[in-house]
Subunit: 350 residues, 2 copies
């Protein structure tokens, strides 16, 4: 088809070519180009010059073999096409590009109802120096395997034992959102959560719900199981959850959706049904995705790309042996009040 394979792979200059052209040994070229000490200034400049002329670039494969370091890191995500993961990857990629690391992404697809195991034997073995684990509860055995293979691992989300990690306090998220609603005067507050994950050990929904319950308890509001429904962490699921809630004999006056995306589905459904927000019903989400701003959704904000950038920096430091001492960093969250929450409509008591 294309002409791409017709031209030979353009044999490139090797370190020997540079050595010959600069009249030095390959060892000297290696030292000079890597900025090591013990190279005469004049020698170095000559080598650099020659290397430039020959358009020389060290072969990473050879370097990897000789040094045992790949200068690559992997980011392990449950999915690649979600807003959250894309943000994380963006953060990681930026740091990698800066630090001269390759970022290879590995998605943990589920196969026959089970998560694909990371036997390390596969995509990880000797391919990368470190891993960024994103919101995946690794089996202890998997983690051990990785570490025993010399991989440095950092994590976003759950605190992997022995690994530096960052994340937000998801219980606090639930509490913050619920308290906001409580503060507005709501008592009948529903939760649109997610119970679909049986594969990745995704604890976030559970924790946010804990915060919700804690806030309710603290306020002396009795829990009502009917008010806790599943939204599958999808727009569609949020809409369906909304229907379920509105079909209740005593529907809620406020909804806490544990993700913007589900809040979005609920809002849309509300509009279709002619339910005014926040007049008839308040809604608050979590994440502060771009769409939240334009929809005026009140939500709990977190800076996801920064999570990625942060752990990537840690990882790079770790790999450079610049020891640092952070074990876990709880990233800040903030409530962004917009226009989907208000005091409940005053009920005229007859």
């Amino acid at each position: 088809m294309t002409q791409q394979r017709s031209s030979p792979p353009a044999s490139r200059a090797t370190i020997e070519d540079v050595a010959a052209a600069a009249n030095v040994s390959v060892a000297t070229v290696s030292r000079a180009l890597r900025g090591l000490p013990n190279v005469a200034a004049s020698t170095r400049s000559r080598v650099v010059e020659v290397a430039g002329q020959l358009n020389y670039q060290a072969d990473p494969a050879a370097r990897r073999l000789a040094t045992g370091r790949s200068h690559a890191i992997a980011v392990l995500v449950p999915f690649v096409n979600t807003w959250y993961c894309a943000e994380v990857m963006a953060g990681v990629e930026a740091v990698c590009a800066e630090a001269g690391y390759d970022m290879v992404v590995i998605a943990l697809r589920a196969e026959n109802g089970d998560r694909r195991p990371i036997d390390g034997t596969e995509a990880l073995h000797r391919r990368v120096d470190g891993i960024v684990v994103v919101d995946v509860a690794l089996e202890p055995a998997e983690l051990d395997e990785m570490i025993s293979r010399g991989l440095s691992v950092v994590s976003i989300g759950p605190p992997l034992p022995g690994c530096a990690s960052t994340g937000i306090d998801d219980v606090a998220v639930g509490r913050m959102a619920t308290e906001h609603l409580l503060g507005l005067g709501h008592h009948r507050i529903a939760l649109i959560g997610d119970t679909t994950d049986t594969v990745f050990g995704f604890m976030v929904p559970t924790m946010r719900q804990q915060g919700y319950e804690a806030a309710l308890n603290a306020a002396g509001v009795e829990l009502d199981d009917e008010l806790i429904v599943d939204g599958s962490f999808t727009v569609q699921g949020g809409a369906e959850a909304f229907d379920q809630l509105m079909a209740l004999d005593d529907p809620p006056t406020a909804i806490f959706a544990i993700g913007d995306i589900m809040a979005l589905g609920a809002m849309q459904r509300a509009r279709e049904l002619g339910i005014d927000i926040p007049g008839d019903l308040s809604i608050v989400g979590v994440d502060d995705q771009p769409v939240a701003e334009v929809l005026g959704l009140t939500t709990v904000h977190q800076d996801v790309a920064e999570h990625g950038a942060r752990v990537a920096r840690w990882l790079v430091d770790l790999l450079r042996d610049d020891d640092h001492s952070v074990e876990r960093f709880i990233a800040p969250i903030t409530l962004v009040e917009r226009t989907t929450t208000a005091a409940p409509a005053t009920v005229v008591v007859g």
Copy 2:
């Protein structure tokens, strides 16, 4: 900090260990494990067995050095945290995982107002066997450089000279959306486009606009420059574009937003202003992002993940020398009619 670096990198079994344990030469181990012919069945099974016991896994770095192939591909994206790019990456990643390739992602950030040049000298040199270029107009010199370095390149979006590529017919997209509106009886149709890219050579907005203009011309509707506004390909931009349109003396009865995301901003603004959709105004988008479905947005659908999967398959074929003959595949698009478009309100002519 963590205990990760305390244990030695767990020296792993090499091919020699396996050879010794199986009482054969390393060459035989290599052949046996790679499934090459000319290995006695009994020998092969013994080698496989021993390799398993030793938990042996060939070192990719050594293999790369010996064969000259990295078994990795790069995906070159303008950004990593956009819906479109995330979908593409998802498609590419799935194929890579299946075919045993690493996917490394490289974002083309802009620096001091200019796109970071891909001198190949950087992140690409000898690191990957091939590249998936996503919606980036590479300089001819950059492309030549890549090909001369032996890289196979395929592209999504613009048809790179000499490279297999896929994409949609963006002129047809513009025409399809506009004709839909025209068919409904609209004559005053606005376009929310994007003129912000000065860096990546992004031709999509221009082409969709061409389709829009062609459809209007074909229908004998005169173009009105006032109806063509910029939406910056963001939700916010779409909202602002909407304001601009509504401020016109003779506002449109329908809007074609060249991306769902901008349509979304426009819809939100319409709601805030009490403009009924589709009663007062029709809106059609492009992409069919998940959010489009729940909002009931009429839009031009394309399967973006499949674009990624498709070119990734081509690339893998190319790298395996399974020559195939596709030069360019125009992926299908379909109009998904939902609830944001309808016939224009009948104007009672006094």
